[in-house]
């Protein structure tokens, strides 16, 4: 028997109807995540990376809606589920952490109450649930967890809140963790601690992780594979080591070269001129063509499809070699 991937997204299209036209935030995105795999979804503001994760969770805020595509979690179609069934999926099978912990943590309950409530939903008594809350806080390395378990979110620092949110996301033992910019608002030393923690928990539990980030450094540190997204479409996808060593898409190359790098401090940075297109009127042909240094005539007519160049490494560009 062939085991399906843990998550399979195909042809995902998410639109936002506005007074000034339809915004195609995600337009034909397909990828899979295997069991125990960490996939990074990387791109700049407005590229559709967060909308992709919200689409998987069926949490796209109105007026947004998933207009087309399939999202299979262990072979089950999430888009076919009713609201109640979807709520159970989010409660048990997919954990989520966001940039801003207060989007998941309720300010009027202690973190212990919230984690225990989630534990209780999976059976057992109150005492066991409370003990589980303490264990979860210890798992995510909240110092003196036994004393802090009664704290309210506002009593915690940003780093501890992020740990508490992670404890809440993991209490049900989900197979998939969706982490949307989980360290972006944190100071760099706290970010390093949280990334180390995520890496350890992922390996210990064999979880799959979808890591949404704008930071290629975070991708390099944590992910096995990466999908680079631009203007609502994946332009390149493959193993992290491969893509960082030999990026094929001009946008990926640009992103990597425009970062200050220890070997080139002080030298002019490569820069990608211009700005991403308006998603109400995406250009005909390749969406990156107006900013692309390697553009050829056909790029402005034909939208390139994501094609496999070498095993596991795909790119949507006819020019790249």
């Amino acid at each position: 028997m062939i085991v399906p991937p843990l998550l399979e997204v195909s042809g995902l299209r998410t639109e936002f109807e506005t007074a000034r036209g339809t915004i195609l935030a995600v337009d034909g995105v397909s990828f899979t995540i295997e069991r125990g795999e960490v996939l990074g979804l990387v791109g700049e503001s407005g590229c559709g990376k967060s909308v992709t994760s919200l689409s998987i969770l069926r949490l796209v805020p109105p007026p947004g809606r998933v207009a087309a595509g399939r999202i299979l979690l262990e072979g089950e179609d999430l888009l076919a589920k009713d609201a109640e069934a979807m709520r159970r999926v989010r409660g048990a099978r997919i954990g989520m952490v966001f940039q801003e912990p207060m989007t998941s943590l309720n300010p009027v309950f202690s973190i212990g109450d919230q984690i225990a409530a989630a534990a209780l939903a999976h059976g057992g008594g109150r005492t066991a649930a409370w003990r589980r809350a303490v264990e979860m806080l210890q798992l995510v390395q909240v110092p003196s967890a036994r004393e802090r378990v009664g704290d309210y979110p506002h009593q915690l620092s940003g780093g501890l809140r992020q740990r508490a949110m992670l404890a809440l996301a993991l209490v049900s033992g989900p197979r998939l963790l969706i982490a949307d910019e989980p360290t972006t608002a944190l100071d760099v030393t706290i970010q390093a601690q949280i990334l180390d923690l995520l890496r350890r928990l992922q390996a210990e539990r064999g979880m799959s992780v979808l890591m949404i980030t704008h930071d290629l450094g975070v991708v390099a540190e944590l992910c096995h594979r990466v999908a680079v997204i631009y203007a609502g479409r994946i332009v390149e996808m493959g193993p992290v080591a491969r893509i960082f060593e030999r990026p094929l898409h001009p946008y990926t190359r640009g992103l990597l070269r425009c970062l200050p790098h220890p070997s080139r401090f002080g030298r002019p940075l490569f820069s990608i001129e211009g700005v991403p297109p308006d998603l109400r009127r995406t250009p005909v042909g390749c969406r990156f063509a107006p900013r692309c240094p390697d553009v050829i005539e056909s790029c402005r007519r034909v939208e390139p499809a994501l094609t496999e160049r070498e095993p596991g490494h795909s790119v949507a560009c006819p020019v790249s070699t």
Binding site: V188, F244, L259, P260, F265, L269, F270, S271
Partner: protein, 322 residues
């Protein structure tokens, strides 16, 4: 140091925190606590550290946007803190600031042309026609078409707004620019454009920068020298390459090892800091970094380490260096 453009000695800002409910004794936050450095003309000094380390407050103190509690600031030899207000006003045009948030720092009701011309008008530079010509020149200097003068800030992208902020800062031809997190709100592709522009302007106009950022790589990229701040103090300062390749203070090593690098092949030392930054209301005794330091010793808990020279122009404050 002879010929320094800017000299800062023992600069400090102590804020008084509101007393607690029970009217306990007043508490003092030492946001900046005895910072000293000098900037030579044409040089860029980077100021790096995490939230609350005092780097932005230091920038604002130098411009006297906040009044210092103690210390000395000399700009082109003049003591800024002793100047009568009339002369301070004249000295101020020699130094300008570029802010982080290009969305919050530009007046949304003003056209770009007026935003850039405002400093010229305040200092009575040129007549209306002369100012409008100068606005055109400044826009071109920052890589925008002169026609942008007619636009409003909301019509512009983040990168374009930051260029407007830079143009306005350059209007009075200052010698010193305090750049406070100038690219932190921008996407990486736009960040590169703005960093390149700042480097280009420095070369063309002979500007001196105090470049403040939480992003160690951006600071190392932009600066000739780097000062690392922790809880209100400079813990290490030195030439860029020395800070990057031979950091001597454990906090600098921690910072360097914590930054995620977009290069999976790059092997690095991993020095993990313990816990989180102490509250500035409960400043640790001895070395302020000791509760988080992976190399802490007994004396670090009691004795404040003095800053000592560890290389040419390279200073660090750590007992390990004895």
């Amino acid at each position: 140091m002879a010929g320094a453009l800017l000299e800062v000695q023992g600069l400090a800002k102590w804020f008084e925190a509101a007393p607690g409910w029970l009217g306990r004794r007043r508490r003092v936050i030492r946001a900046v606590d005895g910072v000293s450095f000098a900037l030579q003309p044409g040089e860029t000094l980077g100021l790096v550290g995490e939230s609350g380390c005092g780097k932005s407050t230091t920038g604002r103190l130098i411009l006297r946007l906040i009044e210092p509690s103690a210390g000395q600031i000399r700009l082109e030899g003049r003591d800024l803190l002793g100047l009568p207000s009339r002369e301070l006003w004249a000295a101020r045009r020699r130094m300008q600031i570029v802010f982080q948030d290009p969305f919050g720092s530009l007046n949304p009701r003003m056209r770009v042309g007026r935003i850039i011309a405002e400093p010229l008008a305040i200092y009575g530079e040129a007549d209306a026609a002369g100012r409008s010509r100068r606005v055109g020149e400044l826009l071109e200097l920052v890589g925008l078409d002169a026609a942008y003068a007619e636009r409003y800030p909301h019509e512009l992208s983040g990168g374009q707004r930051q260029r407007i902020g830079i143009a306005a800062a350059l209007a009075l031809a200052p010698a010193l620019i305090v750049a406070d997190e100038p690219v932190s709100a921008l996407d990486v592709s736009v960040q590169a454009q703005v960093l390149n522009l700042l480097m280009d302007l420095r070369a063309r106009l002979g500007l001196t920068y105090l470049f403040i950022s939480h992003d160690l790589h951006v600071v190392l990229h932009m600066s000739d020298r780097v000062a690392v701040m922790y809880l209100g103090e400079i813990v290490e300062i030195g030439p860029r390459d020395a800070i990057h390749r031979e950091p001597r203070h454990p906090y600098t090593r921690v910072l360097l090892s914590a930054v995620p690098v977009a290069d999976p092949g790059l092997r690095r030392e991993r020095v993990v800091p313990i816990g989180e930054v102490a509250s500035p209301l409960a400043m640790p005794a001895g070395c302020r970094f000791h509760p988080r330091c992976p190399f802490v010793m007994a004396r670090c808990r009691e004795e404040v380490p003095a800053s000592r020279e560890v290389g040419a122009g390279h200073l660090a404050a750590c007992h390990l260096l004895d």
